[in-house]
Every structure is written in C-alpha cells, then in structure tokens.
C-alpha cells in the first residue's frame, strides 16, 4: 500500500505536499483525541466490571441469588466493553493511517528513500496488541474464572 502512495507523493510539488501534510496532521490530531476519549471509556468500563466482579465474589459467600443479580449487570457492562474496544480499533487504524501519511510526506520532502521495513515496524508496533490476541478473547478470558472457582468451592463443585 505505502510504496505506490510514496511514488505518487514523490511526483507532487512541494506546495501540494505541504498542503497534504497539513491536512493529514489535522486528521491525525482529531483521531488521536477521539482515541484518547475511547481509551478513557474502556478504562472506566474495565474498572466497573472489576468492581462488579469483586462484588459478585463477595455476594457468592452469602447469597447466590444476589450474585446472579450482579452477574446480570456484568453482562451489560461486558457488552459495552466489547463495543468500546471494537470502536477503539477503528479509531486506532485511522490514527495510524494519518500518522503513516505524515511520515511518508515528510520523507519525500526530505529526500529519504522509501524503506518498507520502517513502515512494517510502525504497523507492528501500533497493532501488536490487536494482532497478538483478539479483542474478544482477551476481553472475555479470565473475567469470571476466579468467581467460578469460588462458586465451585461454595457449592462443593456441584450445580445449584
């Protein structure tokens, strides 16, 4: 993707490149701010889920019905967390795209030769988290594992 773009940029006048760089910078700022807002939302939902999980753990010690009520709320928070993380991935990809464009334009203006490994490294570092583990699996694993163990212990390993 980046080589053809680089070649196209290389044919542009400096004035056009300046204008394009400015536009991508503006877009980069917009998406960086939007991403920051979404990260805050994810953190807040994470905390809420953690609190609910801890509450359900305590409730399990005295009342399974009460733990069920809390688990019902956890279900909604988990869904909101999945939505927020999915949107975050889209914001991140847009932020990366504009950052890449700014870098390529600056390289062209500075007469730097196109280096595919540099672009690959940028992409690897930006998206490593989204490649190494899926949003769904990282989000869903381990949230209730402890709770389940406690419940198994509480119920003597049986079902109620």
């Amino acid at each position: 993707m980046s080589k053809p773009i680089y070649d196209r940029l290389a044919k542009m006048s400096k004035r056009k490149l300046d204008g394009l760089e400015y536009d991508h910078h503006q877009h980069l700022n917009r998406f960086s701010n939007a991403k920051e807002g979404k990260v805050n939302e994810v953190q807040s939902l994470d905390k809420r889920l953690e609190k609910l999980s801890s509450k359900a753990s305590k409730e399990l010690e005295s009342s399974i019905p009460r733990a069920l009520g809390t688990a019902m709320e956890m279900r909604h928070v988990k869904a909101d967390l999945l939505i927020a993380k999915s949107v975050l991935s889209v914001l991140r990809s847009n932020q990366f795209y504009h950052r890449l464009m700014v870098m390529l334009i600056q390289d062209v203006k500075a007469g730097v030769e196109y280096d595919p490994s540099r672009v690959d490294n940028m992409a690897s570092s930006e998206f490593s988290e989204l490649v190494e583990g899926s949003i769904l699996s990282t989000n869903l694993d381990g949230i209730l594992g402890d709770l389940r163990s406690e419940l198994d212990g509480h119920l003597g390993g049986g079902e109620q």
Binding site: M1, S2, D23, H24, Q26, H27, R30, F31, A34, A56, S63, I64, P65, R66, A67, L68, G69, A71, M72, E73, M74, R75, H76, K78, A79, D80, L82, I83, K85, S86, V87, S89, V90, L91, S93, N94, F96, Y97, H98, V119, D120, A123, S124, F127, L130, V131, G133, S134, I135, L136, L140, I143, L144, G145, L147, R148, L151, D152, E159, Q160
Partner: protein, 148 residues
C-alpha cells in the same frame, strides 16, 4: 474481509448528503435509546427478582424463592434478543459517529500492511453470527457454571 465495512449501508453512508446522514443518524440514535431503555428495565426487574429470592431464601421460604428465581430466568431469557439488538445498534451508532470525523478512512486501506488486525465485533460477519457470539460470550452465568 472486515465485514462491517463491506456492508453497503455503511459504505454508502459517507456518500450521502448531510441531511440524509443526519436523518439516518437520528433513526439509529432513537433505536439505540429505545433498546437501552428496555434493557435497563429488564436488568432492573431481574435484580428485583434476585433480591426477593435472596430475602425469601433467608426466611426459609424456598418455594417462593424458587418462583422468584424462575422470574429472574424469564427476565434473563427475554433480555438476550434485546441485548443482541442493542449491541448491533450501538456498533452502528458509534461507527457512524467515527465516520463523521473529518478524514475518516475505511480500515481496509491498511489491509496490505496488516491483514491480521482484529477489529473485534466489526469483524463478525452477519447478525446471526453476532447473536451467537454474544449469547455465548457475554454470559456470566455459563461462565459461573450456574444452571439457573
């Protein structure tokens, strides 16, 4: 490859006039708000049933407690389709908001760089798949090992 971004409704949104975009966004916002309200109401009812069951159980009224647990189960079952619809609408609502940001680019432009990026629920193919995924994954009760 990134299924949500291949949907014609989503692809065509960026080409619509501002008036049509606003109209579409209003419809989605309204649907989202209605679904959220129903979901909150079911959650509240379910929690009430759980609290009642707890009180009755502590007083030794097991039969009545069981009835409340059954009501809880009903609220839980009835909320699943609403939760699925809510997630679908919330994804669309938030995606439209992101697409309205000046400079938005569909993520598939990056496919040549990294084809293995996980876009979470946006990678899920169809409504049926989303329903199945949510039923299985956003369900603390199965995770807890409780068959209510």
């Amino acid at each position: 490859m990134i299924s949500w971004f291949n949907r014609s409704r989503i692809r065509s949104y960026v080409k619509l006039s501002t008036r049509k975009q606003n109209k579409m966004k209003q419809e989605v916002d309204l649907r989202h708000s209605e679904q959220r309200s129903i979901l909150d109401s079911r959650l509240s009812n379910a929690r009430d049933c759980a609290r009642k069951a707890d009180r009755l159980q502590k007083r030794g009224k097991d039969a009545k407690a069981k009835e409340e647990i059954n009501s809880f189960k009903l609220e839980l079952a009835s909320s699943q389709p609403v939760l699925n619809a809510y997630v679908n609408t919330a994804l669309e609502k938030q995606l439209l908001e992101v697409m309205a940001v000046e400079g938005f680019t569909f993520p598939d432009v990056l496919n040549d760089l990294r084809s293995d990026i996980d876009y979470g629920l946006f990678s899920v193919n169809a409504t049926d798949e989303l329903d199945a995924l949510l039923s299985a994954e956003v369900n603390p009760f199965d995770e807890l090992g409780i068959e209510i």
